[in-house]
């Protein structure tokens, strides 16, 4: 394999990893804190991408579109959290999984109703290339990576430097104690859920120019997001970061070697890791 191919492969993998990270961080946080599996994150991802499309077509500005997507998805997440999830936090895990899958399917139906089933292209805001190690790399991909890095730093600072973030971290360890300290658990849950939805929408908006936007785009990344979350361990932020980097590179480099490997290799890797550690690399051995 030539070094040029390798460099562009690694950059491609990093940008994939960034998208996976932005979506799965929400899934992981929701599981860690609220003990729910929120498959509807993929709906916010789709909504974010579609709004990026619509607004960028209307105004010609992609950044505006991404911003609109994040805001709309956050409002949607707030609504869904208030109306649906608030009632099922106490229930078993399967409960939230089925309900959120229903929300995802229903949402896809609604998206089809609003925007139709035809895949839509989103214009790149700029198509500059930059020369890196003798290879031309699209700047936009580097930007996606930069955004993910910024988000990671932001999340880290939020969880470690603010009182709400510290409460969330404490809640992941032991929710009852946090409630015992007089912290409003319901508000904590809402903040986490809305944050997760907004990040998923950010992922969708950022990724939209690199792919075609279509109603099933959420289901297409679903398998990869799951693999990231499972390999990293549910509820672990560090694990999500490492495993998204891992899965992104395996998908990208794997597809360079032999195209079908892009799908099969991460799956095989996940099975191997689960054989050794049934709760993923960084997953805690929490009770069911």
């Amino acid at each position: 394999m030539s070094s040029q191919l390798l460099v562009s492969g690694v950059i491609f993998g990093l940008s994939l990893a960034s998208i996976y990270f932005l979506i799965s961080i929400g899934l992981s946080l929701c599981f860690g804190l609220m003990r729910i599996i929120s498959l509807d994150q993929l709906l916010y991802y789709t909504v974010g991408a579609y709004l990026a499309y619509s607004v960028s077509v209307a105004t010609g500005n992609l950044w505006l579109g991404i911003g609109a997507g994040v805001i709309v998805a956050a409002v949607l997440a707030l609504l869904i959290e208030r109306v649906v999830f608030r009632r099922i936090y106490e229930r078993e895990l399967t409960f939230s999984m089925i309900t959120s899958f229903g929300l995802l399917l229903g949402g896809i139906g609604a998206v089809k109703g609003i925007w139709g089933v035809v895949p839509r292209p989103v214009r790149m805001p700029f198509d500059d290339q930059i020369n890196l190690f003798g290879t031309d790399i699209p700047v936009y991909r580097l930007l996606v990576i930069a955004v993910a890095v910024l988000v990671y730093i932001g999340i880290w600072a939020f969880l470690n430097r603010t009182i709400i973030g510290k409460a969330i971290r404490a809640g992941i360890e032991d929710m009852e104690h946090v409630e015992g300290l007089g912290i409003n658990a319901a508000r904590l849950f809402t903040i986490t859920f809305v944050l997760a939805g907004a990040l998923s929408a950010l992922a969708g908006g950022m990724y939209a120019p690199l792919i075609m936007v279509d109603p099933h785009m959420g289901l297409e990344v679903l398998a990869f997001v799951f693999m990231v979350v499972i390999i990293g361990g549910l509820g672990s932020i560090k694990g999500t970061l490492y495993s998204s980097l891992l899965v992104g590179q395996v998908v990208s480099i794997g597809s360079l070697i032999y195209a079908p490997l892009a799908i099969m290799a991460p799956f095989a890797m996940m099975m191997l890791i689960l054989l050794v550690r049934p709760t993923g690399l960084f997953g805690s051995a929490l009770a069911k």
């Binding site: 399917l105 139906g109 799956f267």
Partner: protein, 321 residues
């Protein structure tokens, strides 16, 4: 003897009624209902008896269907042998996958299973496209021989055969409920520590239950293949992974008749709804969320409660008189 008769009578009446329904309802609809209900009972068993939520059922359905399809498309013509091959393929697949999967915690199990279904979908659609013909699917209706006790190429004879098979599957699951194994399955859902303390192996019980349920699902897959004479990756597409779970919950989780009632309602609703609204996903999603939110016991549970109340009222009146 009378015990055996009573044991069978419920199944006999239900499936005789189901068979008779083809005089009233269109035959393609009834065929769909029968095969889909076999598809659902595996999921129902996993969810209701073992406590595994499986969004990956389409994977096993597809393995069964493609097992049959490969035989009928490339090698032979005997539909019965094709079915056997499909079921065996599904069983072996479930045995291998089960070894890896049933060790996982229920949340990981659900996620991994769904990932498996998506992987199988991409394999059938892209990776193995040379032998599966990708999205075009395999067509082999004309390859199916019309020999054997039932001429499976004719819808009405296929229907009779499918109803017979469904009755046998139901008898099997009804029998399982009475056995030690069935009790163990329920125990592993409710309290695995206690079960292990008594001396049973949770892993073995779960694995056996997993293989059983998914072999049933693969059997439904082979029936689909023979009935339609056609398979395509569409059957395991990510948008359809929830179908059996929706039907299971709609019908009532864990009850023997839930899958049948649920399938009737779901298929009926789908046929009616698709005439008025083209947006199927929105509809399924809303049903799913609605049922979960109202915390319902499913259609069968509701019907059963009604029937019981009705009978009790009648009995009370008779007592007074």
């Amino acid at each position: 003897m009378s015990n055996i008769l009573r044991w069978w009578s419920g199944i006999f009446i239900a499936f005789a009624a189901l068979w008779a329904a083809h005089w009233v309802l269109p035959l393609p609809f009834m065929n769909e209902v029968v095969v889909f209900s076999i598809y659902t009972i595996g999921c129902n068993f996993l969810l209701g008896r073992v406590g595994f939520i499986s969004f990956g059922q389409p994977a096993y359905l597809a393995v069964g269907a493609y097992g049959t399809a490969f035989y009928l498309y490339y090698f032979g013509t005997d539909p019965y042998l094709g079915m056997l091959i499909g079921v065996l393929a599904g069983m072996v697949f479930a045995m291998v996958v089960g070894l890896l999967f049933v060790r996982l915690r229920s949340d990981y199990f659900a996620l991994v299973n769904l990932a498996l279904a998506v992987i199988i979908f991409y394999m059938l659609q892209k990776v193995l496209a040379e032998i599966t013909r990708g999205d075009n699917g395999l067509w082999f209706l004309t390859n199916i021989a019309s020999s054997g006790p039932f001429n499976l190429t004719r819808p009405i004879q296929f229907f009779t055969f499918a109803v017979l098979m469904a009755a046998l599957v139901w008898a099997l699951y009804k029998y399982l409920d009475d056995t030690l194994f069935g009790a163990c399955c329920l125990a592993t859902k409710v309290n695995e520590t206690k079960l292990e303390f008594i001396g049973y192996d949770n892993f073995k019980i779960r694995w056996l239950a997993f293989v059983m349920a998914n072999t049933t699902t693969a059997f439904a897959g082979t029936l689909y293949a023979i009935y339609l004479g056609f398979v395509s990756p569409e059957m395991t597409s990510p948008a359809r992974t929830a179908d059996p779970v929706v039907v299971t919950i709609l019908g009532g989780v864990g009850s023997l008749w839930g899958p049948l009632v649920g399938t009737l309602a779901y298929t009926g609703l789908r046929d009616v709804a698709s005439k008025f609204i083209g947006n199927w996903e929105l509809f399924v999603g809303l049903i799913l969320v609605f049922i979960m939110m109202t915390n319902s016991v499913g259609l069968y549970g509701t019907l059963e409660a009604w029937a019981r109340r009705l009978f009790q009222k009648n009995a009370a009146q008779e007592n007074k008189a």
